[in-house]
């Protein structure tokens, strides 16, 4: 039963978010190329640097943080409203009366599922955002696609991926646990479910940004 609930949640979180993550990631990469490219225009640095800057910005910041913020809006509000609705419609009480630990049955699969799904989506986003940069180069010719790809391949530090995934796992835990907490605290009716959902998203976003800063400080400055 628990395994089935976990797999359902992973599928729901992952599969249902592919579209939004794909669109956002491609555009992040595309916009990054144009912005960094405009600042490098006329400079004496080799233009392969554009690929490096866009790659590192995507991997270190854009993909893990923006994907997490989008997931806070999508998954966070979903978790808070789902658990909140279960609370106000007495479904949580029904579980408790049966002798089940409702937090374990309802909350834990969502938290574990987020720990799998969000890092997977962030990894997917890293790939797509760099691809988006390539697409942007193809259409704008700020640099040729070959030069951009050469830049992507230059001096790659694998630790950046570790850093990004650490942020992704942390964000996943923050989003799912904060949202589950607010869902559980819901009392009343539809209005309170909406309010819990809003609080979950706002607090998740603040926590993501805060831990983004802390983790960047801890992991990148040795």
């Amino acid at each position: 039963m628990f395994r089935r609930a976990l797999l359902t949640e992973v599928y729901k979180m992952g599969n249902d978010s592919f579209g939004i993550v794909s669109i956002i990631s491609v555009f992040i990469g595309a916009v990054a190329v144009i912005q960094f490219g405009s600042q490098l225009q006329g400079s004496l640095v080799p233009m392969t640097i554009l690929g490096r800057i866009v790659r590192d910005a995507n991997i270190l910041e854009f993909s893990p943080t923006i994907t997490a913020l989008v997931m806070a809006g999508k998954i966070g509000s979903n978790i808070a409203s789902e658990i909140g609705t279960m609370k106000v419609s007495e479904q949580i009480d029904a579980l408790e009366i049966m002798g089940l630990n409702s937090a374990n049955y309802v909350g834990l699969p969502k938290i574990l599922a987020a720990l799998f799904a969000i890092p997977a989506l962030v990894t997917y986003s890293m790939f797509l955002s760099n691809l988006g940069g390539g697409i942007s180069c193809f259409f704008t010719q700020i640099v040729s696609v070959d030069v951009y790809v050469a830049g992507l391949r230059e001096t790659f530090d694998g630790f950046y991926v570790t850093h990004a995934l650490t942020k992704a796992v942390t964000s996943a835990f923050l989003i799912s646990s904060i949202s589950a907490y607010h869902g559980y605290q819901t009392q009343g009716g539809a209005l309170e479910v909406g309010s819990a959902s809003t609080k979950a998203v706002v607090q998740s976003c603040i926590a993501i940004i805060f831990f983004d800063y802390i983790l960047t400080q801890l992991m990148l400055y040795k």
Partner: protein, 244 residues
């Protein structure tokens, strides 16, 4: 048998239940009646363990619920079935999965045995061809019947019903009342019903406790209900549209 002794429950210093005591016997439909906000739901939540009273005792066949450890409470809860006001069916599960849920969680039965028991429980509440439907696709009365089927799936010794007739038309109310009565007598269950529905109380009330402002003001049965000299109870009965 369920015995409660001097239950006191407070919220923010305000007494919602004030030394309520009663005995509820097996095979009988016991009613807790009273106006909204009188403390009926709080009393039921205390009895099933969703709220913890400040003082008093709640005993299920001599087992003091408030003094049991976590595991013993968990075991005891599997002997309790509860029908909620809105059904409290799990939205993400189909009707048959809702009924199968306690069987899957607490028994070692095979899938075929669970299916057999689910079909039996659904037939018992006179529901057929709804197994694959979801709670959002069925009516309020059907939700209540599925709720009863889920509550009896594990053969409970104690059945709690919170406002089983609320929001239902008179005919469906009657069907639900008959079902609860039949199940109570057939399986010798200790059934406690919170209700506003005076007609149900007059029809089925083997034992009735009237609660007013957190106090148990009157206790008796359906034959004594109309002859009470309790002013608050008589006002409550007269205020309902039922004409005895």
């Amino acid at each position: 048998m369920i015995e409660i002794g001097s239950i006191v429950k407070e919220f923010n210093g305000k007494k919602v239940l004030d030394r309520i005591s009663a005995k509820f016997e097996p095979g009988k439909c016991s009613f807790v009646i009273g106006a909204s906000g009188g403390g009926k739901s709080v009393l039921m939540k205390c009895m099933v363990g969703l709220l913890t009273p400040e003082s008093g005792s709640i005993s299920f066949d001599k087992r003091d619920f408030l003094k049991l450890d976590y595991q013993a409470k968990k075991d005891l809860r599997q002997e309790i079935g509860m029908l909620f006001q809105g059904g409290a069916l799990f939205d993400s599960l189909s009707v048959e999965d809702n009924v199968a849920f306690p069987l899957q969680m607490f028994t070692q039965k095979s899938a075929a045995e669970i299916q057999e028991r689910v079909n039996f429980c659904l037939q018992r509440v006179r529901l057929e061809n709804v197994n694959k439907l979801f709670p959002s696709n069925i009516s309020g009365g059907m939700k209540k019947r599925v709720g009863i089927a889920r509550a009896i799936a594990l053969n409970p010794k104690y059945l709690f019903c919170d406002e089983p007739n609320s929001g239902l038309d008179p005919i469906t109310s009657r069907v639900i009342d008959e079902l609860i009565l039949e199940i109570t007598e057939e399986y010798n269950i200790t059934t406690i019903i919170n209700s506003h529905d005076i007609k149900s109380v007059f029809d089925m009330g083997d034992h009735i406790v009237f609660i007013y402002q957190g106090k148990a003001l009157w206790e008796g049965n359906k034959s004594l209900l109309g002859k009470s000299d309790c002013k608050e109870l008589n006002e409550f009965i007269n205020a309902s549209k039922f004409n005895n």
